[in-house]
Amino acid sequence: MTILSSIIHLFLTLILSPLLIGIINRTKALFAGRKGQPLLQPYYDLIKLMKKGSVYSTTSTWVFRLGPVMGLSAVMISILIVPSGGVGGLLSFSGDFVFMAYALGLTRFVTVIAAMDTGSPFEGMGASREVQFAIIAEVVLLLGLAVLAIGTHEISLSGIYAGLWTKSISPLGPVSVIVAFAFLTVLLTENARIPVDDPNTHLELTMIHEVMVLDHGGVDLAFIQYGASLKLWLFSALLVGIAIPLRTGLPLVDVIVNIIGILAIAVLVGIIESCMARLKLLHVPQMLVVALSVTVAALLWILR
């Protein structure tokens, strides 16, 4: 039964993830008093991109063409690991979150080198900033998962998330709020949302993630955008697992509840993007270090 739910969950993930972007954009439009794009606009965009041809820079090589493909594949493998509420991921084993973190690292690596393959200074700039933030974000993610692991005495993602709400409200207590905050910060960083990066900017010098994919077009860009929405889904799933205290014990219901939670997170991201301005570039590492310190505080709390 659980395997079936996992497969259904995977299926829904693959289909529903671009919807998250649509929800975020619609939320922002609502806040701005506009009607906004249709909810399904990202799907229309993907289809449009798949229909287009590509223009490749003369400087670029096979690295540029491989980047989007490899990046998307790595994110997909990570999706297989992430659990949904109490239901485990399809591919779960002890220490699988390490694999997940490093697979996301692989995505970042190939995106960065694909960016540098164009020989453009803007893309080099974006790549350089992106790796800077990723360094701290990865540590925050790992330490946050460590807190959860200590709390539940499990070392696989599925185990951790299954154990989070089985016993009482949460074995972590107030610490779960801190970890949720840290995970939210990591989500905003890894997915290039305000306050870290503005996904709607058109100025190359202010872009971080956008500028890395500036020269991609057509099918490649479709892969990249789809991969980005999958990544957003992934991090939202991690966050929802901590935030939503509902485990009915029925796998299918859990999956549905989880998905609703993820969509709610998308709304939350939209609200954050509307209410906050983008941070100065020098302040982003500071924000990440704050997330790191509260995570360490959570660790100390739970270890005492």
Partner: protein, 660 residues
Amino acid sequence: MIMDLMLASLAVLLFGSAVCVFAGGSGKSASLMGAITSVTGAILAMGAAGTILWTGKESSLHVPWQVPFGSFYIAVDPLSAFFIITISLVCALAAIYGTAYMDIYRGKKNLGAAWCFFNLLFASMLLVVLSRNGILFLIAWEGMSLSSFFLVMFEHEKAEVREAGWVYLIAAHVGQACLMFLFILLGGQNASLDFDKFTTPVGAAAALFILALAGFGAKAGFVPMHVWLPDAHPAAPSHVSAVMSGVMIKTGIYGLVRIVLLIGAPAQWWGWTLLIIGAVSGIMGVLFALAQHDIKRLLAYHSVENIGIICMGLGLWLLGVSINNPVLATLGLMGGLLHVLNHALFKSLLFFGAGSVAHASGTRNMDLLGGLLKRMPQTSLTFAIGAAAICGLPPLNGFISEFLIYLGAFGIVAKAGTLGSPAVGGLIAMASLGLIGGLAAACFAKVFGIVFLGEPRSENSARAHEVPRPMLFAMTTLAALCIIIGLAGPLAIKLVTPVARQLIGDANVSETSAMACGILWKISLAGGVLIIIAGVFWGLRSILLARRVNSTGPTWDCGYLAPNNRMQYTASSFAWPVIGMFQWLVRPKLNVRFTKGLFPQHAEISSHTDDIFRRNLFAPIFKLISELAQRIHRLQEGRNQLYVLYIAITILILLLVKVR
């Protein structure tokens, strides 16, 4: 049989080194001879070692010697066998690489001597892991240091190479002094320097551990004793750098493990010490690597980082043994040892790549390179695989060994409950590994991107060409091995399990090993699925693009009128945000000359990073010693007669005293 193979291997190598000296100073025959004997010796040694690992037994040979306290006592047990395989593999491939690499020196330098020392280095490294007698060990160790010294000094006409060799020699001998003390203390009670007669004097275990740490750590490159690494490894020819970085520093790790095995039950603080040293080495190593713009110096600092990772694995092993947690001990040990092999593979690969780049373009400065992928396609592909492997990205081999260490660390973190317990050790290991992984990924994205991608930044790289076939063969073999081990994790476990059994004990290891195998099968499966999915998407993309209109054009330049290749990001600029974050630790120096006034003038900016340990720790110490020596210098007048007078007076005094 086993011993015969080993002795044959050593004999072939020594014969090779002798022949190379006479085979003609500058001819191709020297290279060929040297490579053939190296490869033959490697095959023989790997055959012997592989058999030992397969059967899990031990084989030894003990011949007494005239030297006081010395005996020709060599043995192959699983620990030695593992290191023999690592050493032989890398040395054989380096020899093949070297035949083509040294060609540019033909006629200008004495190649016979270089190959002689190469074979001697290989032979002495084998002897180091084989010896079971203190004197034999020290002789082999010294032979290793000296032959590598001469190889480092191959281009001795350059001042920086001379200085690098000098620093290396001093560091190697300071380490060796510690080792001599260590052996004397260990062998003192039984008055014998055979390893199996070593006994730990009561209460001296701590001092012995510290001595071993200092002596072997200087060779392995633990921070702060690493200061010779970033100078010596770039100064040597590239195949020698690969051997030094890939296997020679691992003999330090071997020595540490062997001595801990001989000293006996480890105390808990030993594990903590190794953990802390490992974490510090790892982080400092990769930070300094980020700040470099010379490829080989960067790679040398990365060796420091990976030694840190290995040290953390070993720290977890000792921690596990001391708190009686065999799972932690086994996982830590297996991770650390596997990383020894993995690092040897991908670091050699990267050094070969760097050597190819230097060979083709004539420069090691990354800020002058770029666009080499189009000109050196095969080198670039293998370098990319090596770069991904060293960052620990799946599905390559670096991930497997780091994963094992993570598994051990997380296992103990999840189980334990309180502060001050080994859980904190696990947390340190985990956080450090995470940080190191992120930094390493940044660094190698920088290296690969700046050197191989984009447009050439100078004439050097524009004129580059692909390298000869022997070099390509060596690099491709290593890249293939990285991929194979990455996808076949359980096979790698089979390599290290016999060693774990020998060091921790049969019963405890088998269970953990089986568990790890199970997990690694899943990881291999995931890796396979990843490749399949990538293949599917590539196919999809090809199908879709085949039916569309595609074209090429220049890179988007944002409307600038006259973009040129120098406007690309350089290595220093790429790393600057990260280095800026860690400025207080790394202390880079920036020299800026801006234009003043209204019209464009000459402006320049350059950055330079000193090794802070060398500048703030060792330089003052050596300056102090130098000043003291200057005062004693006054005794030295330069007159022959005065020295003979000193001798005569001493003789007379001795005679008078003795007679009275």
